[in-house]
């Protein structure tokens, strides 16, 4: 029986303690061994997660796993000793594997790890789960994939900053959430029209979403997206979140192993939503930051790039079924002009691709000089049967905990197929009622909520960008969303994803959670995503931690550069 505690122990892939700056040799060795362990971990995942192999292949894979496990133990010991040796400055001797008391793990069919909690970095939880005898291979895959990516988020959940009760807690500027209008939303949601208990709300519902809510969503989108004709409630499906909508779309538009194209960098959460249940691959269409003749503004999306990516995918034998666009874009904040949007849709039509457009930030455009154009506002779509729009209240209304997402599509076959997932992604009847009331009150939205929200977003954006300018950090996003895309390349030497990860860890050590570019499938290392939609006091404290970390990083770089010079 596993003795793991509820808090996840420190994963071996990330350092938690202070970097022993005075012991650079140890640091280097530590980094090398951590890197090696990371590589082995990834290989381990690959080996254990592949399904449908022959018995012989499986035995072979297990033998390799066994060897790698022993090697992993050796590496853990090395790390332990390096860290303790670095602190005490003692001469070290790496013990032989046979002396390792934790080397008693047996790997058979899928043996369970004998858990003895260790005070120092050890086999991470994900790795222990690899050898679970209880989960299926795909269960392990899901668990490892998800948990390894959300460990830091989970750590933050257990140790949140609070101005009185927990001043040393994590501040999260890495999750895209709008916390600026909690006062307005709390007040609105407590008004009397919100509290209605009818028997139909407590009984099994229409799984596609209660008709009263779908009618309201159709009306709401007609108005705010400026649709030329009234949208049809029958084309609306509501589920418990936009990620659920995306997962269901991936299920019905693709067969397992097929793919969508997505311009990168893009919101990394899509990778989970397409893979965990649906097993659909996301193929990034890499955009470049550098302005050139063909790239007239940073991270420009062109049809040429889309075609190139599509061709490459086909040459690799991948079946691409659709294109995913986020407009306004996350993390760049770009807003596609109607002309560009049309070009992308025409590209998709040319190749019979579906287009999924996520417009979840459509009401979060705070730059008054820019007008957002929803795809639903276009008079005619190149391929209306293959254009599917996602919207939700999580970002625009800052109620990510409500769990609501909507699909609008002219294609009744797709709407119907997505409805099949309604009971697995259902929304409570009471919640549906509240959402209906919320969306219905256009006057409150237009006169109170939207102006206040946009104003606060603008102010927070101003504050953040002023800080970034003072630090001379280049950034992207001047108009929409809850985040800025910042460039920390000058703090990385060499500029690699490994260095980016280490800098990310340094932020974590200082209880600041950011998102790094790799999780957005960005091709270029050094980019980070910083969410600014938080209350000013917390934001200010976060920026102080941010500056401290960059200062530390700068000093570490200088030390490293001096050492390099001395060595030559």
């Amino acid at each position: 029986m596993s003795h793991r505690s509820d808090t996840l122990p420190v994963p071996s892939g990330q350092r938690r303690g202070r970097v022993p700056r005075d012991h650079s040799i140890y640091t280097q060795l530590l980094e090398i061994t951590l890197h090696l362990q990371q590589a082995m971990t990834e290989h381990f995942v690959q080996l254990t997660s592949r399904q449908g192999r022959s018995l012989e292949e499986r035995r072979h894979a297990e033998a390799i796993c066994e060897h790698e496990a022993l090697l992993s133990r050796l590496i853990c010991q090395t790390i332990n000793l390096l860290q303790s040796g670095a602190a005490s400055g003692l001469e070290l001797q790496v013990p032989l594997p046979s002396e390792d008391s934790r080397g008693d793990v047996r790997y058979g069919q899928r043996a369970q790890l004998s858990g003895q909690p260790d005070p120092v970095p050890q086999l991470s939880d994900p790795e222990a789960a690899f050898v679970s005898r209880d989960l299926s291979n795909r269960g392990i895959d899901i668990s490892v994939f998800y948990q390894s990516s959300f460990q830091d988020y989970n750590a933050y959940q257990k140790d949140k900053y609070h101005k009185d009760k927990n001043t040393l807690g994590f501040i999260n500027l890495g999750t895209s959430e709008n916390k600026l209008c909690m006062d307005l939303m709390t007040e609105r949601l407590q008004e009397s029209d919100m509290n209605c208990i009818e028997d139909t709300l407590l009984q099994y519902p229409d799984w596609r979403g209660q008709p009263f809510l779908r009618e309201e969503v159709a009306r709401f989108l007609t108005y705010y997206c400026r649709a030329p004709t009234r949208l049809d409630p029958e084309n609306v499906v509501v589920l418990n979140g936009c990620c659920s909508v995306f997962s269901a779309l991936a299920m019905v538009l693709c067969d397992p192993g097929e793919a969508f194209l997505v311009p990168a960098p893009f919101y990394g959460g899509f990778a989970f939503s397409s893979r965990l249940y649906a097993k659909v691959e996301l193929i990034p269409v890499h955009l470049e930051s550098e302005v050139t003749v063909t790239n007239t503004h940073p991270f420009q999306l062109t049809v040429d790039k889309l075609e190139e990516a599509l061709l490459e995918a086909r040459l690799e034998g991948k079946k691409v079924r659709g294109l995913v666009l986020i407009n306004p874009q996350n993390p760049l904040g770009d807003i596609y002009s109607p002309g560009s949007l049309m070009k992308y849709l025409e590209f998709a039509k040319r190749y019979n691709l579906h287009v999924i457009i996520d417009e979840i930030y459509m009401l979060s455009v705070f730059d008054e000089s820019i007008t957002f154009h929803s795809v639903l506002s276009m008079k005619s779509l190149p391929d209306s049967n293959r254009t599917h729009v996602i919207w939700g209240t999580s970002k625009d209304f800052g109620i990510s905990g409500f769990r609501f997402g909507a699909l609008y599509t002219h294609n009744k076959e797709v709407a119907s197929a997505v409805s099949a997932f309604g009971y697995l992604h259902s929304i409570s009847g009471i919640t549906q009622h509240k959402l209906c009331q919320l969306l219905q009150n256009t006057e409150w939205i237009d006169k109170v909520y939207l102006p206040t929200n946009c104003y606060r977003l603008r102010e927070a954006h101003k504050y953040i960008t002023a800080e970034l300018k003072a630090l001379e950090i280049p950034f992207h996003n001047r108009s929409s969303g809850l985040y800025v895309w910042i460039n920390l390349k000058k703090y990385l030497d060499p500029c690699t994803f490994e260095e980016e990860r280490l800098l990310y860890c340094r932020f974590l050590d200082n209880k600041l959670l950011l998102s790094r570019g790799k999780t957005y499938m960005c091709k270029e290392p050094g980019w980070f995503c910083l969410i600014f939609a938080d209350e000013l006091p917390r934001l200010k404290l976060a920026m102080r931690r941010f500056c401290d970390v960059l200062q530390e990083q700068k000093e570490a770089l200088i030390v490293k550069q001096l050492e390099d010079v001395m060595r030559e």
Binding site: S2, S132, L135, L202, Q203, E258, F402, L424
Partner: protein, 449 residues
Amino acid sequence: MFTLPQKDFRARTTCLGPACMQDLGSSHGEDLEGECSRKLDQKLPELRGVGDPAMISSDTSYLSSRGRMIKWFWDSAEEGYRTYHMDEYDEDKNPSGIINLGTSENKLCFDLLSWRLSQSDMQRVEPSLLQYADWRGHLFLREEVAKFLSFYCKSPVPLRPENVVVLNGGASLFSALATVLCEAGEAFLIPTPYYGAITQHVCLYGNIRLAYVYLDSEGVKVKGLILISPQNPLGDVYSPEELQEYLVFAKRHRLHVIVDEVYMLSVFEKSVGYRSVLSLERLPDPQRTHVMWATSKDFGMSGLRFGTLYTENRDVATAVASLCRYHGLSGLVQYQMAQLLRDRDWINQVYLPENHARLKAAHTYVSEELRALGIPFLSRGAGFFIWVDLRKGCRGSGRCLQANPKWQKTPVPLRARSQVTNAGELVIVSWPEGPAATVDLGHSGAAED
């Protein structure tokens, strides 16, 4: 109670992945019903399900092949409900409409529930409830669930919040468990007859089937056993000895056991003596015993979408939690559920006694009607349903039981028809998984007379 099925009656499941494709074909319409329907379909071709997959060509469809199967299956499953919703009974507006006694829902205590849910402690709104939280459920809720289950399941030691995962309903739990415990194409064993929707729950995403043939028949790997106690549709309650027997059997074959106790508080006959699996002193295989509970039945809130998993197996809890992002429920609802579960006084002194009294009265009423008509049925003291044997009444042709997910308006010669419904007809739904001609007659619809 654990019925091994006869050889000629095999589970048909609509599995949507390649592993299950061979089950489908011209017999698609029967995938949701039993063997008996094949003959009927031949006689009554107009009753075939909507969207014969053979008729859906890939040229005209925008969906993937997996998508087409999902859509076809959903259309057939929903057909019956659509027919019902288009002609729903209403005392004033549509007295000759269809009354649904085929969905297991408790509509008897809406007055009590609406009172409780309207109290001021239920109206609280706080920023933390509106924001992203721990996907496996707010800690305050998981703590409350652990306490609640410890009390009502009478666990020998207090249950722990770390072993609780919260999702938006029992269906989602089945889906997540099927996905993390099995590979595509594998199976769970389930005693029959059983609540048919579970087939869909484990198939849609999980792509596994339910087997009620013996373990290694047809080369399908069985990974788990599903037990529902109290049982739906029979109303049986397993004794602790029986439970131990099944759990020992499962351990012998290294099966996971998913125990669905969603009706645990709906045992209205005191003499029945219900025992939760969590009340057993020692489980044969605690790492492979997973318990499900939800408010849908016991608290008559099927529309609220709240289900919980209790398991000591951290790997399983973590794997299920990895899917919780897609099965999340509103923070406000989580808060309300915690308030509800916490209110032992109201539950023990108001709700449960009243609920049981009303269930018992409704059960008595329907039982008497059935006896008067000479219709045999199983009399049990739990759940909202009666397992009724209408084979005699159908004069052997089985025609009244159109084994099709469609609702079939059949004039049934019930002497008390006018009393029961004040409407033209009583709808009978064939329950697909049981022997051909038995029918599930729910009795907990609010009796209008």
